[in-house]
Symmetry: D2
Subunit: 363 residues, 4 copies
């Protein structure tokens, strides 16, 4: 599996299984001079920590991060930063009964076919715990972006069909769903309670906005900012769709309506509307960047399901581990992290775009 | 702009501007022994050729491809294949009047800010002609996939809100929209005629299906098959959304409904439904892979639009070049190409996944 | 510093400083099904362990490796393997007096200029301890190569001008220099004793041979097998030269003498001589691969040296930490490791070279 | 063959065979705003042009370069630059008699084994003509470096054992060997005349110096400046050894002699000696960078040689194409080019090393 490394200049290399010794990430390409301590990263990890409400897994782990390298006297040195979170509360026995069974909606069958066998405990590498490494790296990227005046914020824009009708970021952390809208949160609670009762699970949508991004970030052909964010976000388990700006709605729009008019706003180029979602031709256009990711309902459900096992027998299964009935609440910070990492990576690359600026840099 | 190279083992490096000498691609990593001639590639290019109906640009170019290297005595040698299509029918004067104006919905403003100036003729590098290189490379990838029993087919599933209600691939090329449904095509024609009359443009959706893909293609974390296809497809100009399987609809589904039950079908593992779109945990699961991409309406419209110019003055513009009122018909083969390239790249990488197979290979 | 990742399919991502919490490596791309335990890796690490003779540093660390991920029930799973060696016997105070001084022959001045400051303890990231990560990864690569019938062996071919006049690998580990020649080892001991007495240090040459490599490994242009090995080996601290086969001696040879005649040897193509060192046109040619790396004398010496400090003052320094008077003995396994990693990486890539073999693989 | 792309930010993708339609390169990552015309590149190509003296091949081609993309109104736009040189004076019949024979010292046997067959005309992809693409890209890199005050100069330091005893760059182009020493050139001419008469060929050494490189270029672990230059230069056909600074001589030196003392030179840190060759810990140290590459004698010789053919028969061959009796004279500019490309690539990457400079850049 040669696919656990992401990024070109800000490169993250993640590792770890759900029920192994831990999960972690090595970040190669962190610029020197950033003040960084474990608390900076812990704040991000706590946002995806399990056990925060009845709507998330009861797995109870502090998920404390350790910085193993790359920081000296409180500052990054420019060398790789190795971050580790040890696994603690593993109930591996929970999984022994399903070691030979292919859970519907999971990668078990693909893993066995591709690799010949698999670490079946808790999903192994395909566990949601894999995202700890993304979030730890995202915390570092986010701190750098903040120094550059760039803010990235994600939230749930929809839970099981219930849409947030307003976006008040201050409300996001006041409900267990990450909804920036208290009314929607109440309705979502009702739906989620029902789902739990009926041994079912729910999907939703995470929206992410970026403010303060300079114009021109993103490369013109394959490494368009939106293309790279699409890969980054779609690589999060359970994401089945990605869109930027008006997204799929553009298919029913027309050019006159969909084009965003440029105008001068206090001496600066601005757009009257933002159908483009802050990106034109793969480059940031100076407006707010806005994107959405669709998450499928948690595939691990306690309801009885039909499936097959490794020997090719048809069997029934009901999954009783400790699983989130909704993925979205804890996935919000994962989306935010992948967006931060991608923007930073392309922002670094953009420094090399113009000869006059390179000459300035070196003189 | 360090972003015109895509792929890891099957690597494409594209170049060329709308009104330069030509466009082309160098493909590094084509295995040796593939029978390949210019006609193989021309067939693909002809599917995106301009001037095929009143719904596409009147730019009239044969877009004939030349193979410059990598083929000897009718077969690929394993060395890089350089493909070139010379530009012919350029009307650069069409653009002189907009050289300083930022066209709404286009990358002009971003280009000027990022690079200090731009080749304003016909969109320069951001022109739709850039996709010629993608299609030429896609033709090669497609031919290799065919040898492995893998078929990739894209078509328009929706034009301006008019959905194909059936998918009969044999109908796709019988109408100017690439719709696999003749009724939908008739309705689309009406809508498109209106759009042309009102100097407007329309969006749509391209759907792509892959049959015959072995199980296990795709890498588990960042290089998931769907994540990489998301990057590949979102990197096509004008794409604003991407989804796999049920896509955004999963957000309103629930686990019981959305999980695909495994069962034994004539001794083989199969799925009763395919909400997942043929991918689980980022790996192909043996079912049909199905994905969709949303295209925005062509931003170049003849209607009068307000905008600004390079000097920061507010101006009006109406764009009179030769532009497609719909992007979708000619984009179908571009989507197909990017999907072929991505699947082949990950299929090659997958050969290294298991030690027992590596030992077999070398013994 | 975006330079701690090496490899394309077998990718290693290393981290760690001399006096931080530890050093480690994440290996992405290890095929599944390899039996692997900590002892397999420890054997390699023990070959570079400090404190093994009076000719190596007295730093006394077990350098015990921990496997944190990627192995399940004794076998690799195909997911990233994270390996860590905790630092133990750090005497950071040894370095406080040189925190502002630029040691001759070291990277201190470059580090400060590039990054603004540095972790001055024990060389930080530029310490020889960085090579622990290379060796841990090399042990894994070596085990895979062994399964494919490929043996890689390095040894000292020269210590301070004293050349091994024979190569008997069984003698390599019977002397503290890694010389495959006992007579040379005795002479080297005399020279090394003198160097220690006079607070000086010595250089030498490591030679590495590869047997059993299939024909055709290496890519024809930039990723030639010898070119990639050159990068891999030159990236080891203190290496100042690299050569393959006859190396620099070819400059004084002529075509008639230097060309290796092909002949049939028991029905197989073979070469009568091996001036090429087992590589032609960047690809392995089936003969023994042979290469050499020149190591400079350890720059850390206790003799008084003139230099400057961070404030631009001229000062004197004598370095009293625990340093090896010779780098070569402990570097042997580092060279072997980098060669293993490189050959494996290109051997995996080579699987994708021919269409007929790809079709075989997937059918 | 996935090995014809080199570089990380300044990426070159080369293609072309000796007797195909041409050779070329696509450069992705050229910053915008560089004044560039074909003459800038032609000057470099003319330095490797065949037919310049009796010591080089009589193949008579102008090797005129065409810029196909990436330049608008005389300046680079930031988009990929595609450069092509058409082949003209091909005598493919020269090779038909050796299509099945494995020439000693050539890659024929490796090619056939790796790919199943090969383009045998003129060495195909392994021809010296492949280096045209390197030189064309090198010309662009060199022009950018010049704008940054960095000069790269290569020359022959040794021809067939005859060493240049002085380096006067103004003499380099006054003799057919590229020697910066007229006495050595005279002796070399005598030796070369003999070699031609006896149907033999000769080797030599190219030395390359870099002046004006800022401190800190190069990344600390695998992407050390010297390691990357080693790959770049060793990837040139016929190079069998690479060294930096004192190179292999360090193996016989000692720490006291080999360490370069730092001192203050007019308020700047400087070194009294330069055994390190301008690189410490993989980073440029501000001194002149100096390196050497050993070239083997041309393997194509007219003398009768024994070898085998594709059917496993032992045969004799004498090679009568138009071959250089010495590779070095025309290889000088190739070495210079690969060094320029590598330094520029790492110089761009270095812009991202420090947070304070990134903040400056974006404010």
């Amino acid at each position: 599996m040669s696919g656990s490394i992401y990024g070109k200049l800000f490169k993250i290399s993640t590792w770890g299984e759900s029920h192994g010794k831990g999960v972690g990430v090595v970040i190669d390409g962190v610029p020197s001079g950033l003040e960084l301590c474990e608390e900076d990263i812990q704040v991000f990890l706590d946002r995806r920590k399990p056990g925060q409400s009845k709507y998330t897994t009861k797995r109870n782990e502090a998920d404390s991060v350790n910085i193993l390298s790359g920081v000296f006297e409180g500052k990054t040195t420019g060398t790789p930063i190795s971050l580790i979170v040890y696994n603690e509360d593993q109930h591996s026995k929970d999984y022994s009964n399903i070691s030979d069974i292919y859970r519907p909606g999971h990668a078990d069958y693909c893993f066995d076919t591709k690799y010949g066998f698999r670490d079946y405990r808790g999903g192994g590498r395909s566990s949601g715990r894999e995202t700890i490494a993304r979030v730890a790296a995202g915390a570092v990227a986010s701190k750098i972006l903040a120094r550059l005046g760039i803010q990235v914020n994600a939230y749930a824009s929809e839970i099981a069909g219930i849409k947030a009708t307003r976006v008040d970021l201050s409300l996001r952390d006041t409900n267990p769903f990450g909804l920036p809208d208290s009314d929607a949160a109440q309705k979502a609670a009702t739906k989620a309670d029902e789902a739990i009762k009926s041994l079912n699970s729910l999907g939703g949508i995470v929206e992410c906005i970026v403010d303060g991004c300079p114009v021109g970030i993103g490369e013109t052909v394959f490494d368009k900012l939106d293309a790279r964010m699409a890969q980054a976000v779609m690589s999060i388990g359970a994401v089945k769709g990605f869109e930027i700006g008006d997204g799929f709605a553009v298919s029913e729009s027309d050019g006159v309506s969909n084009n965003d008019e440029f105008y001068m706003n206090n001496g600066k180029v601005d757009k009257r509307t933002n159908h483009s979602g802050g990106i034109l031709g793969g480059m940031s256009d100076g407006s707010r960047i806005i994107m959405r990711a669709a998450f499928k309902p948690t595939p691990s459900i306690a309801s009885v399901q039909k499936t097959v096992n490794k020997s090719g027998e048809e069997v029934e299964i009901s999954i009783h581990g400790r699983h989130d009935p909704l993925i979205v609440p804890r996935a919000i910070v994962v989306v935010e992290s992948m967006v931060c990492i991608t923007i930073l990576d392309l922002l670094l690359e953009n420094m090399t775009a113009r000869l006059d600026k390179i000459i300035d840099f070196y003189s």
